[in-house]
Symmetry: C2
């Protein structure tokens, strides 16, 4: 019997105690955004540091200006594979509205469905306590069964992920040498579906811009001035309307520089996934993909850059009517980036476009709202290949390579601050109700999640 | 010495007492919008009814659900000219901010400027107590000097003009037969400039529309859905941007039906006025007329129809950034109408245009905000010719035929409810600060205004 097989057997045999430990962690009300739960957050950090230390990954609670970090290390001298940094977060979302919960959110329970499938119901059961514990329990089984881990492991557990991670940047900066490893393992994402594991390999980047267009130096009466005075709301409409052409493409010169077409094999994989476009858009009462005409909705949200107006305002918006010509018009606009698109080049192209469209009588001010490039794990990366093999072995299905339309800030920070790629493996499902009442985690996600990490560590060690 | 000459001499001789009477009226704090001044409003109505009755126009105070009307009649049997209805309003705007007034707003005073010119400073000195008293004092002089008026005169003085005239419609409806005359005389407008009298002959109409465009049934995360989900703010921008072509013309089919080109002689008159386009736009920090490219700013605001966005909102407009795709986008849009443009045809054309632009996944709801046609006194009307002669005689300058970009609701009501055209003659100046602290009325406006009305009545009687 191989080491891996023995570890997997132990995981199965010990699963009840793994579940009990998750329940213990879930019972701690570590709501990071609410100061009333400050000591609960510390309690969760203490619990995790003790747990890690107990299983053989010496860990400590590290103070920050906010909630503490938990950091642990286990160096496996002489082993070949990469030194990995595992990341998760122990804080959870608030639970209101409490009356929509079917039971106490901090009193976890296993609920069996009519079809026999089971789920763990509690705040944090999925996001992220259940997920991070899949890794902790996998590590426990390896050390308990074999006396060590297949590769050197560091652990970083955060307590402010649900409240904007204000302490993360300073902590990474201050502890760069300690935390920089060869690869990050992040367990905070989802599977493709109930049967199909997933690795999130693409995260879109983001450029945010706010513009204010000013025409007259005061609001004008449209009777007195209408027709003669420049109306900044018209100017804004022209600018915004011109950002896309009639095929849905963004018109900014050079915008698509750095956009990467998916390799044929990835496309083929996606076709096999059978993404239900109708259900995706139908779920929000839409029917037709609205973006670039020659792309599927899945391509649009995973692999294509966008330009979206996120807010527009100006003039009168109260009840009734006011015949005003506003002095100013405002918009918030964001660009989702993919591949190697350069955020600052996109920003510059946008600003140049706006300036060029501006009539002589108007001025514009720009306000920058963040900019980060897209992130991706190269399709030919070794870590990705190992992760795919581990997951496929465990789930009996090829792992889906998932894109993510949004961004996960920690992944960008690991890349830019610590120089590490991240392997994003998680076992959440779309219906887990994270951030909502009656959050749950599939029992299979927890059990096979633990087994999956055991296999990932094993594959990574192969070198 | 003709009757007119004797009347004018009497006006000059009695001017001090005319001024004293205006001061008496101005001292009454008839702020219609503030319930605290309800009895002051009635006091002003009583004062005017007594005054009219005393000079020989028997008048009474007539109750409404709001502030009372003053109605008086003097029938001149056997005289040829039209029976005219004079309209003015005795209510005034609030006086706040009080600390910006250089003196008590209800303690009128004559202030002499360094150049010797005089002005009457008080709330209501111009709008509209000073203006309405020019007519009352002219009538007084006619009756006192000749025993009668040149034509039959009815008087309607309102007390709610500054608060939306809620009682006017019901009052006109209930007293239609009593108030319907041959011609309305309205004294609530301005001169062209300090030296040049004006008759306002064109008032633009107005169509107001509010639209709400709905795409998804909830706000979406732009990371999750951006690129695939229809963004109603983009749809709105496209719709609004398409309302004008690149020459500034409104694109709605049939929009310009009923628009009337000005006769050459009126254009010539305007050219002579020497409108200072630079000062007009420069006053609000603009430089270039923004509307139809082949029209001057004066044409644009007086004689050309417009389409203006008066308000736009949707998505996130708070501090910072939110990567949201809004479910709904909103706009308020108005059209200024001229000539014989049909408000309901314009509304229908707008709605058809929006519906046609709407992508399959969006719905739109329309909300109507009023619709009224443009009003104009035909350039060849007899009353206009008489008014022009009277003013030119008094001021030694040809009267300007003025357009008004906005609307004066009473003029529309007189036309639609009582079947009367209105001759709009007033002596206000742009710098009178009506509605603002330190409102003033030129002493010459008051004095020559009285003389002007004496002449208008004289000319109208010529038949």
């Amino acid at each position: 019997m191989s080491d891996l097989d023995r570890v997997l057997s132990r995981i199965d045999a010990d699963f009840d105690t793994s579940l009990a430990r998750l329940f213990d962690l879930v019972r701690i009300k570590s709501i990071s955004t609410d100061p009333a739960f400050k000591s609960d957050c510390r309690q969760a950090a203490d619990w995790l540091a003790n747990e890690l230390t107990a299983i053989g990954i010496p860990a400590s609670v590290r103070d920050t200006n906010g909630h503490p970090m938990v950091v642990g290390h286990r160096k496996e001298d002489g082993k070949a594979g990469p030194h990995v940094l595992f990341y998760g977060h122990y804080d959870v979302q608030p639970v209101d509205p409490l009356d929509l919960w079917e039971r106490d959110p901090f009193d976890p329970a296993v609920v069996t469905r009519p079809d026999g499938s089971k789920m763990i119901v509690a705040r944090g059961s999925a996001d992220d306590k259940g997920q991070l514990m899949t890794f902790v329990e996998a590590a426990r089984a390896w050390i308990a069964e074999t006396g060590g881990l297949p590769v050197s492991v560091s652990v970083l557990l955060e307590g402010e992920e649900e409240s904007g991670s204000p302490s993360l940047h300073p902590f990474l900066t201050a502890n760069k040498d300690e935390l920089a490893c060869d690869l990050a393992l992040v367990c905070d994402t989802g599977m493709w579906d109930r049967q199909t594991p997933g690795i999130t390999t693409m995260l879109r980047g983001l450029v945010g811009e706010e513009i204010t267009i000013t025409a007259a130096d005061k609001d004008l009466h449209s009777g007195m001035y209408g027709g003669a005075a420049r109306n900044p709301l018209h100017v804004l409409a022209d600018i915004l309307a011109g950002l896309h052409d009639e095929t849905g493409k963004v018109t900014l010169p050079g915008f698509y520089d750095g956009v990467i077409e998916m390799p044929e094999d990835v496309r083929a994989l996606w076709d096999k996934l059978g993404f239900d476009h109708e259900a995706f858009l139908g779920g929000v009462d839409l029917k037709y993909p609205a973006g670039e005409q020659d792309r599927t909705a899945l391509e649009q949200i995973w692999t294509r850059p966008t330009c979206e107006i996120n807010g527009v305002w100006g003039g009168y918006n109260g009840a009734g009517f006011k015949t005003v010509i506003a002095s100013q018009a405002h918009a918030k606009i964001s660009f989702r980036l993919v591949g190697d698109q350069d955020p600052e080049k996109v920003r510059a192209a946008f600003r140049a476009y706006v300036e060029a469209k501006l009539p002589a009588d108007c001025t514009v001010t720009f306000h920058k709202h963040g900019g980060s490039p897209a992130l991706r794990l190269p399709f030919d990366s070794l870590a990705l290949a190992k992760g795919r093999k581990a997951l496929s072995d465990e789930w009996g299905r090829e792992a889906a390579l998932i894109g993510c339309g949004g961004s996960i800030p920690i992944v960008g920070d690991f890349k830019t601050m610590l120089g590490m790629d991240s392997l994003l493996i998680g076992f959440g499902l779309d219906d887990d109700r994270v951030h909502s009442p009656n959050e749950k985690y599939e029992m299979t996600s927890y059990h096979k999640g633990i087994r999956s990490w055991a296999r990932v560590l094993y594959e990574l060690a192969k070198g």
